[in-house]
Symmetry: D2
Subunit: 97 residues, 4 copies
């Protein structure tokens, strides 16, 4: 199975500069056993199941709840049950000759 | 606590008409003990915790995985730890005099 | 033609309470000739064309740029060329007769 | 000025495999004078203004309307009026020195 998730999560009660909070989330994701990619707009993670992807959001939210009074999160999921390694495959399908 | 989630989930391998699949998800949400609201673009649910909101997505995804070979989902979350009844409050704050 | 857009736009450099800014955007949308619906997570607008929907975001952004140093916006679009009145139709299709 | 946009756009009436349609959009973006980055979940574009970013969505939608009866699009925008080169800056702020 393969679920690719793109998500962003950040406090919205801490003013314009939120990178110190986002950094904690990114460090947590780096420690997970999932393929992931940091982008200028969020993080892309590939898991086996939807539940694994959702648990990444849960962990990220728990980290931010320690400091923040309001947290905003956006996420999109592309779930292909029965497929694997879709991050690479999708890039090739669009970029390939 | 209060987390408001807006989400949409649907198969993208079933052609243009997906309401029969979406209906199953909406029926499931109707059976949950959370305040929710169907919109033309998705469903809005208010839960106590992020984990409860995420479990709604998990349940919706499980329903669609029974039929679909590819599922797309978008979600946004507005988490205000320490607050409650935010769906109503947010509407009043913007609409109120 | 019919494009339904769900979008949210708000400053993220103004602290936790942003309803005074969101209110200005909602008032602007109320003055437009499009069918629209305020939700606890954003606004849903139905236009004839994608360009009309995008111009609503542009107007909302211009309003917020007067005050804010950082603005975040999320949007989803469901475009059915050749259809009309989809906001109503979609609700009926899922809610049944 | 600097607006970073992350967006995805694809037909949802063409079955599971949509890369041939997405490829046309990616080729169009490659021809634009904006800094951009293809990801497994969409494309990230940095423009001077919101209007330039929105015009990229408009162009992408016009390409897909030639073939598709239903098009879905998601987008998020991070607008920092008065800043520039934010794609690079944001990555550095989170990844640290």
């Amino acid at each position: 199975m393969s679920v690719i998730m793109e998500f962003a999560i950040f406090p919205i009660d801490k003013g314009e500069h939120v990178s110190q909070y986002v950094k904690k989330v990114v460090d947590m994701i780096d420690g997970l056993p999932y393929k992931s990619e940091l982008t200028p707009m969020g993080t892309i993670v590939e898991c086996e199941t939807m539940e694994e992807c959702l648990s990444v959001i849960s962990k990220a939210n728990s980290i931010l709840e320690q400091d923040a009074g309001r947290i905003y999160c956006t996420a999109t999921f592309d779930n292909k049950p029965g497929k694997s390694d879709q991050m690479e495959h999708k890039m090739k399908a669009v970029r390939g000759k």
